[in-house]
Amino acid sequence: MNKNSKNKALKNLEEVTIRFAGDSGDGMQLTGMQFTSTTALLGNDLSTLPDFPAEIRAPAGTLFGVSGFQIHFGSMEINTPGDSCDVLVAMNPAALKVNLRSLRDGGIIIANRDGFNDKNLKLAGYEKNPLDDGSLDKYQLHAVDITKLTHNALEQLGLSNKLVERSKNFFALGMMYWMFSRPMEPTIKWIQEKFKKTPEIIEANTKVLKAGYAFGETTEIFAARYEVKPAALKPGKYRSITGNEATAWGLIAGSVKSGLDLFLGSYPITPASDILHELSKHKNFRVKTFQAEDEIAGITSAIGAAYGGAIGVTTTSGPGMALKGEAMGLAVMLELPLVICDIQRGGPSTGLPTKTEQADLLQAVYGRNSEAPIPVIASITPADCFLTAFEAVRLALKYMTPVIFLSDGYLANGAEPWLIPDVGSLPDISPTFRTDPQGFYPYLRDEKTLSRPWAIPGTPGLEHRIGGLEKQHITGNVSYDPENHEFMVKMRQAKVDRIAEDIPLAHVEGDEQGDLLVVGWGGTYGAIRTAVENKRREGKSVSHLHLKYICPFQKNIGEILYNFKNVLVPELNLGQLSKLLRAKYLVPAITLNKVQGLPFKSIEIENKIDEIL
């Protein structure tokens, strides 16, 4: 971003990163989401990173109570929420202190001067007011009396102080709309819809938004105003979507395409709960959402529903995955279709509930007693959650198996523009129920998929008993026979392995061979893609392979890996995919690990690439 121009003419920018930061009660997530929707409507490409504390209303002014929302948008392809931000909106000293390190040198700070009172300064650990002591000289600092200006704007309305204070985020949003030439109308429309039961709040928020916009326009303090032209996205109809929304819709799409009802058994847990919320809205799709008494009831109720012929789904995060382990094994044994969504967060134990991590990979692949193979697939961007969740449904139904769908806190809450797919282009899912009693055996397998027949209660003549005890091949009767057990263990593995025949081959972004292949999985896609593209522009021989299918791996992974001199695996854990790749393909994978509850910055990956090449 250019700086230091005194001219208020519009300046064109290719990309900008803004971070809104304030108390967790300041409405920063809402402000960020509004800026995001408006920006999406303007046709920019974008990526967001909500970053909020686990406490719902942490004590005001404290460092741990700071809530942030970062948006990176541009007229170019945007793959990450931005390594560092160009603009930091700080509603109080704590927000400034926590977020300053993410602001680039020369970046803009918009601080709410009224929030920088003695009490808040002390809470944030500032001895002197940073707005006045010159410590922020390397940035473009604009200290604005946001609270006071909000009060002024609402003087006539006679609202309580509390209500007035609550509107101040709209002042900040108005300023940003002016600064980045965004229209206010979409937000005004949203305010009218959201607060339709309280007209005084509609009036207040709209007034304050406009006041913020007018403040930018009329005062002389801002050096420049910017424009970010629409991105050259593929033509078509777009919407903005978060990972959790996309997951819920992908599951619904699976239900519509298969002609089976969706049953969700779930216990609320961050950051997965929004999938439960979203699915609960869509009752006209006959979605049944069951808020269970615990994680175990969440999955076992879904297994019960699947036994009855529904698409059973359970959604959770790491701690819930741990609790569901035994029931996953049951689903493996019963060979019933089930989708288990793990929206990963920082761990172990309660860990960092609102932060992202990729450390459940080995838990997903191996975390059950005995040999209990389950296909594992991972979405790679927020919008990709749609197709990945849909794929999880497809595989579960076709192979009569539980499938683990991995997402993470970053994908779940992050948003991006999504080219709305043509419903007709979605792959077919055509499950069948066994109805013919002639020659029916519960564990007589389909020769191609090795899946067993789905015979649901209510079907005359197919009364049969299944359970967690080892099954005799074909009849499904309880069997303790040693040879049969080994046979069935291998059969269950073979069935999962066979899925490799049914999934597309992996493809490399960049050259098919070279000095370095960066292999990622899941939510690190954007950061790795950006890093690899930057290095390729510099002429480095580096390519990118991003895995969506972890178990089983796609058939050509080995072939791809062997075409490169080096393999680098960046992961938000201590090296889990790298273990799987080393074990299966015997490649000396180099690891790049980060476990801070935050996504990779592309620069971190770029530095590692430089180190290797």
């Binding site: 919407r239 008494e293 076992t300 109720s301 009855g308 049951l330 709305i420 209660p457 008993r465 967690g468």
Partner: protein, 353 residues
């Protein structure tokens, strides 16, 4: 994509065409060998259930028996219906999911004092609270049988077992109070050695709309032989068991000469022999009386009072799965059958040319 084709509904429709067969108890016997210990009380429970099922006029392919883990949980293998042998303690949750997905099915849960009240206690109370139409048979033998003889959550204080050689220091659960406390709409108790009574209670449980809870005193002749003999054996039964019947005064005893009278909130035994008290002084059982149900259930913990057996409590209240189906129907009436295209395109969208 807008027209709704549902594969499960097609199967249900097909099923309805089949006229209901007339069954006998034998039709409900599966081809599996029954593997409980000889003399186990479970045999009687299996026999009574198989005897009552034909009376219900429900096609057996619409019945599902769900269980957890333990001796009692082998039950589904022996019923020639659909059967689901789950994992320890989770049968009520499995059954909940199945019933919500398939309200057309008749679902029974077979569980035990360990499976239902220890590892699965959470699911048991929540299915009762939600009032999902599932019938729960809790085989209470006051011991862990399948793991070979540890004390259970219903074992008496001081119980000497393999895991409590100095006597257990756990206070036991009263299963009826657990079910009542969890707001179950049907709470009952019966005895493995009283086939007629068990059949009548099972019949009532089957007819009830909502979660039916049936505690069955069941003898484990290997690890806890005789735990309930006071209540089940001829010599002592009549003087120690109070068979409650709706609308009837609470009379018991070999000579039908004793009754239960309320002194304040305290039930006391009175004699009908000396003319001081007549049946009109006694409590008249009322299955719909919540307060009375707690008093009756509490009697199990008080020495010198007979053990109440029968239908303790039975009321009607909304069914979880029916309420959910109503919400779905309403949503469809209001918004129309879900349309994927519409869903993906609703709200704010924009075109890139």
């Amino acid at each position: 994509m807008s027209e709704h084709t549902n594969l499960v509904e097609e199967i249900i429709k097909d099923t309805k065409k089949n006229p209901t067969q007339k069954y006998t108890a034998k039709d409900f016997q599966s081809d599996q060998d029954v593997r409980w210990c000889p003399g186990c009380g479970d045999y009687s429970i299996l026999a009574q259930v198989q005897r009552v099922m034909p009376e219900l006029d429900i096609p057996k392919h619409n019945m599902v028996f769900v269980s957890g883990i333990g001796c009692s949980s082998r039950f589904p293998y022996y019923m020639d219906t659909y059967g689901f042998h789950g994992i320890h303690g989770r049968a009520p949750a499995i059954a909940s999911g199945l019933k919500i997905a398939r309200p057309d099915l008749t679902i029974w849960v077979a569980t035990g004092d360990g499976d239902g009240l220890s590892i699965g206690g959470n699911h048991l109370i929540h299915i009762c609270r939600r009032n999902i139409d599932v019938k729960i048979l809790l085989f209470n033998n006051q011991i862990y049988g399948l793991t070979k003889g540890q004390y259970s959550p219903t074992s008496e204080f001081g119980k000497v077992t393999k895991s409590t050689p100095y006597g257990s220091v756990d206070h036991p659960f009263n299963p009826l109070l657990v079910a009542l406390g969890a707001e179950a709409s049907f709470v009952s108790r019966t005895l493995d050695r009283d086939p007629k009574h068990m059949q009548s209670v099972i019949r009532r449980a089957a007819e009830h709309k909502g979660t039916s809870f049936v505690e069955i005193y069941q003898n484990c002749n290997v690890f806890n032989d005789g735990a309930f003999f006071t209540f089940t054996e001829k010599e002592t039964k009549d003087d120690n068991v109070l068979f409650v019947e709706h609308g009837k005064p609470m009379i018991f005893g070999k000579e039908k000469d004793k009754g239960i009278k309320l002194e304040g909130f305290t039930p006391t035994v009175v004699s009908l022999k000396d003319g001081k008290y007549s049946p009109s002084d006694l409590i008249v059982h009322n299955e719909t009386d919540t307060m009375l149900s707690f008093i009756l259930a509490r009697m199990s913990n008080i020495a010198d009072l007979p053990r109440p057996v029968g239908v303790i409590y039975a009321v009607n209240r909304p069914l979880y799965e029916a309420e959910m189906s109503k919400q779905i129907q309403k949503a469809i009436e209001k918004q129309g059958e879900g349309n994927l295209e519409k869903l993906l395109n609703h709200g704010e969208t924009w075109e890139i040319h």
